[in-house]
């Protein structure tokens, strides 16, 4: 799949949950996106220089739509959140490797915070293949949860830091009860959550090869030319998140060095 540079038109902006913004963009690139892939979005703000990486949260290939769901954490996301219907944004993508979704085993998705974005499209793809899908979803509080209606045909278990919905505590606390039999695990969220998931898997004797994580790191280029997005490789050296990932089998990663690097 060749990544393309293209202007997309913003069709709609909404706030689907507290602290979250959703932009729906019209682009023929929608047809080329695999769940878990991302775009490098150009930010035309004097406060930001580099493009910012954003997962395609979902796509509608027939209508040529891509949805992005994100929160405002700095100049880039602030600019993006201020786009209105009719505005154009410049996309480079789709980039990187998405999730491997073939197979018939049950799927368990583990989402932390804005990590939920990518599971809108992924859960659709999984249930569309007839795979039983459970989403474990953690957020700070109930008002910051993306509504469960966005995930039809899936079972959802919630956790919140303040106990305002679901389990009072971390989403990783839900793992032991939810992971049954030979489920495939898909995870997206802050690096500490991914590290916690891997530690749980090691304790619970769950093979890391059954876990795919979507890894987030600052990116310079998104296309393999800056070497800025290094992710420690099991056995030594580094992978590039933008090329070998962002969705990557957890057994390929050297997690002790990830903990060092990202202070997980």
């Amino acid at each position: 799949m060749i990544a393309t540079l293209q202007a997309a038109r913003v069709l709609e902006r909404s706030t689907p949950m507290g602290g979250g913004v959703e932009l729906i963009c019209e682009t023929p690139l929608a047809a080329d996106v695999h769940p878990g892939q991302f775009f490098q979005v150009a930010v035309e703000s004097p406060g930001a220089l580099l493009r910012r990486p954003y997962s395609a949260a979902w796509t509608d290939p027939t209508r040529g739509l891509v949805g992005f769901v994100f929160n405002v954490v700095g100049a880039g996301s602030d600019w993006l959140a201020a786009r209105n219907a009719g505005d154009r944004i410049d996309l480079l993508g789709p980039l990187g490797r998405g999730f491997a979704i073939d197979g018939g085993r049950p799927a368990v998705c583990v989402a932390g915070g804005l990590g939920i974005a990518v599971f809108i499209g992924l859960s659709n793809a999984l249930t569309g293949r007839g795979r039983s899908t459970t989403i474990l979803y953690g957020a700070r509080s109930a008002d910051q949860l993306l509504p469960a209606a966005r995930f039809p045909k899936t079972r959802m278990q919630l956790a919140t830091d303040d106990g305002s919905a679901g389990h009072h505590g971390r989403v990783t606390a839900l793992l032991s009860n939810a992971i049954v039999g030979d489920a495939d695990i898909f995870a997206c969220g802050p690096t500490p959550m991914l590290v916690e998931l891997v530690r749980w898997a090691q304790r619970a004797d769950v093979r890391l090869a059954r876990i795919q994580v979507a890894h987030e790191t600052p990116m310079g280029c998104g296309v393999g030319t800056c070497l800025g997005c290094a992710l420690p490789r099991a056995g030594g050296g580094y992978m590039l998140t933008c090329q070998d990932g962002p969705c990557i089998s957890a057994d390929l990663v050297e997690w002790t060095r990830v903990v060092d690097a990202f202070h997980g």
Binding site: I2, L50, R51, L92, G220, V223, C226, F262
Partner: protein, 306 residues
């Protein structure tokens, strides 16, 4: 625009069709950038290449800063043998010069790499990255005129390839260093490499980069780079290639007016993968609009000396 002659001569037979190259470390080895029409480029300058493969630094390796970015990649590269065996044969089929950026810890490393690359089809020239620490001397080659001259001379004797030497701005007397390198037999100079900078994460009270410090690039360094080119170009008689914060045609013209014969575009490639191509076209338009038929006709109004 057909008649406009944008070609430049960087010495020893290194002739570029366009004065706009892509800078080292911002285009890898020329294979990865998507959506780029390579034929519009003057040359590709590769990622810094060392004698043996290098894994590079632990993350976090990059951070954005006001109008720029810091990087501490740590020279991750597959080593010169891989470059010769896997990449050069492909480059030999491209209608585009590829200049290999060379890095090392000791004079012997640079010499060994230069020997290995000499005469290999597909390799149009070398650019020496002298911003690397010299293990013996305990300081960067590029900060000392004698060290830089010695290194240039040793590499000059090891290769017949066109030799560009890339100046580091982290010095007190750039002109003296540039002169020493020119006298030692370099065919051209490129200026500048990144400036050493630092960013601290105040919330977590620690440096953002795992390497603590990194090289600053992007528009933030452009005025410094223009000044460096202006000083150096008036002090040496070999061509000078301007690098540092070029995002637009106008930025590139600044360097050409300061005395550069050609330019390299770095960080801008990340933002606009077609930047080098766009800037090349912009320069052609600028010349046409003024009725000039070639780059050589661009009247230099900048003062001749500091």
């Amino acid at each position: 625009m057909g008649e406009i002659d944008l070609s430049v001569d960087l010495g020893r037979g290194l002739r570029l069709r366009s004065p706009v190259m892509v800078a080292s470390g911002t285009f890898a080895y020329g294979f990865d950038a998507p959506a780029v029409d390579r034929t519009g480029l003057g040359a590709v300058v590769t990622k810094g290449t060392t004698l043996r493969p290098r894994h590079g630094n632990p993350p976090v390796r990059i951070a954005e800063t006001p109008s720029g970015m810091l990087n501490a990649i740590g020279l991750q590269n597959p080593g010169v043998d891989h470059v010769v065996q896997a990449f050069a044969p492909v480059w030999a089929r491209w209608d585009l010069p590829v200049i290999v950026n060379v890095a090392g810890d000791a004079v012997e490393d640079y010499v060994a790499i230069a020997r290995r690359l000499d005469g290999v089809p597909g390799i149009a020239g070398l650019e020496l990255n002298i911003s690397c620490p010299n293990v013996e001397a305990g300081l960067q080659f590029g900060v000392d005129a004698r060290l830089a001259g010695r290194l240039t001379q040793a590499v000059r004797q090891a290769t017949s390839l066109p030799l560009m030497v890339k100046l580091t701005p982290n010095v007190t007397d750039l002109v003296a260093i540039a002169r020493a390198i020119a006298d030692a037999g370099a065919d051209s100079l490129s200026a500048i490499n990144t400036l050493v900078g630092m960013k601290i994460d105040v919330r977590h009270r620690r440096p953002v980069l795992e390497n603590q410090v990194g090289g600053l690039s992007g528009p933030a360094i452009r005025p410094l780079a223009v000044r460096a080119v202006w000083e150096v170009a008036s002090a040496v008689s070999i061509p000078v290639v301007g690098v540092g914060g070029i995002m637009t045609t106008e930025d590139a013209l600044e360097f050409l007016l300061a005395g550069a014969s050609a330019v390299q575009v770095g960080t801008a490639n990340y933002v606009r993968p077609q930047a080098a191509r766009e800037i090349r076209d912009g320069i052609a338009t600028h010349l046409t609009e003024h009725g000039w038929s070639s780059l050589a006709a661009l009247p230099l109004r900048a003062p001749a000396h500091v």
